[in-house]
Symmetry: C2
Subunit: 395 residues, 2 copies
Amino acid sequence: MQGNVLVVHGGGPTAVINASLYGVIEQAKESGAVDKVYAAMGGSEGILKEDFLDLLQFPEERLKLLLETPATAIGSSRYALEQEDYDAMPAIFQKYNIRYVLLNGGNGTMDTCGKIYAACKESGVTVVGIPKTIDNDIAITDHTPGYGSAARYIAATTAEVGVDVKSLPIHVCVIEAMGRNAGWITAASALARKNPGDAPHLIYLPERVFNEEEFLEDVKKLYDEKGGVVVVASEGLRGPDGEPIVPPIFKCGRATYYGDVSAHLANLVIQKLGIKARNEKPGICGRASIAWQSPVDQAEAVLAGREALKAAMEGVGGVMIGFIRDENEDGHYSIHLKRIPIEEVMMYERIIPDNYINERGNDVTQEFVDWCRPLIGPELRDFIDFHDERKKLEQ
Amino acid sequence: MQGNVLVVHGGGPTAVINASLYGVIEQAKESGAVDKVYAAMGGSEGILKEDFLDLLQFPEERLKLLLETPATAIGSSRYALEQEDYDAMPAIFQKYNIRYVLLNGGNGTMDTCGKIYAACKESGVTVVGIPKTIDNDIAITDHTPGYGSAARYIAATTAEVGVDVKSLPIHVCVIEAMGRNAGWITAASALARKNPGDAPHLIYLPERVFNEEEFLEDVKKLYDEKGGVVVVASEGLRGPDGEPIVPPIFKCGRATYYGDVSAHLANLVIQKLGIKARNEKPGICGRASIAWQSPVDQAEAVLAGREALKAAMEGVGGVMIGFIRDENEDGHYSIHLKRIPIEEVMMYERIIPDNYINERGNDVTQEFVDWCRPLIGPELRDFIDFHDERKKLEQ
């Protein structure tokens, strides 16, 4: 029996959400049992507006661009669905002969996914989740599509900034990384290091209470030693009182706006240590970077899209596709896919475990680096520095 | 007669300063008349400390890394030389049989270059300048090595952020670009555009007095139309009073510290328009980006290095190597090199001319785009957006 597929994107973009969409399309073509792959244009609102576009009508050479297009090519939203919205969906799906609904997103979208699944259970529509978030904070899965690329971006960028700061070592440079509650991206900056002494020199994660005194002590010591210090800090750092370390600037409606953590830390260094400091906040430049897209991440995102449709066509709904890392004896990296009941996923936000953070809370451990390494893809470029070359000659 | 070369790097790094160094090394090898290519380690201070490293002792495969190593592989400094420092140099150069001194840097370094030239005139040492600055603010030359890569970075990054903001169009995103007095980098963000309506939607240059009212008016209008707006603003914007638009945060010694322009503008949008806004400030991530290094810029940087040594070996000192753009009938891009008397270069800081800025002062003109286009190298990636694909189908 032929049926149609509907793909819905939710929440903030990543560098590979479109790669998962490409996987769904390719899987649909190969299955020979799908008439149309509809996109809900503009996210979940697109469902209610019945704003569907069949992607199978576009030629393969256009569709292939999905693999290297950041953000989402079909739009997304942060629209909060109400119960009546869910109730309306089965009839809409029936109208368009949609039998498989795939929701691609983070924790919030997986919650939506579970609710659409519940609303459609009786109607024969199968609902499956595809994980996606740069934040890597979804439970159970080893990691999420989107994270590997965000990790590659921050590692490569920190390496480049590190070389810059080292070559004119007159200041402290604070790089702000995305991830408000979970420090996975911030932590991945450690992958910038190739040699002892390489940047980043200090890493501050939201999983640890930020201690201003220790921070200034650590920066001062490193500055005295090196002249140039690179700090990578999460945008979500909080102090002992549980409040963001940056004082709120103003309130607007229900939202409170804070300044940038990186600017705050740079200002602390200038004011309290009298050391020149600056801050970089690449922000969205990171999650949208195709130059630093991880090929591993891209391939896994395609795979997750394919598997989601496979599961749906086998009638396995109410699950999210997850990655389980294989424990290979020779240590090589591989994963297998798992269909994880959506309610297990929705239970918690995954933060960095203790064994990945060093004791002083200003760096990650080798265990984290080993875990993260395969996700970012090929080795980063080698740079040359003649101070180091000279040292090698002298040895 | 054999002689040695000394290369000195000054000021802030770029993505291709090392490429010019590579050009010098290759030219020296090919000349057959150079024994050693010394690097002054750590910039001009390295001269006074006689901290010289012969780069010809390293194998070609290591030296080749210079082409794709950001910042400077031999170090730089912002050390201000005194008259007695200049006076000491001829004897140092003689001691090491240094006959050709090449200074690579921006306006400040060219000033130093002129002074070393004057100090060495009698001693038979030839001093030549190699231009280098992401800011593109050196006079007479059509553009400077380092600019094309900084321009490619901001164009590509703005394109990626533009796609991100468009796919979840719920806010105004302000990207801050480097270049405090000259808006060349900020302006290059316009190269992100491929189709009408593409980001950046507004561009604010330091060459124009920033008008807060007009800014808010323009943002509001675009937000009402699109939902997602991308603004690119120079870090050096100033108001009608000539002061930076960001109020000073604090003073430290002689320096006054200001907050980030991008954060300031985003806050204005939130507070005065009640529209969600965020700011990105890639900063050093831009000037150190090898992923977005412009191949045209790299090739020209190598060329400038080669030509500097050629000029020096021909005994033509007191000049800076500049680029003159050829006026080709078929419009194709090419340059020829010019040896520009250093005192002409030192006369002024080159800012964006009026014909490159639109009347309202919130964008560049097509003339600027045409001028800048060849410098950033190959076409940027095509992205796919199914809202646009649908429109094309409907036409």
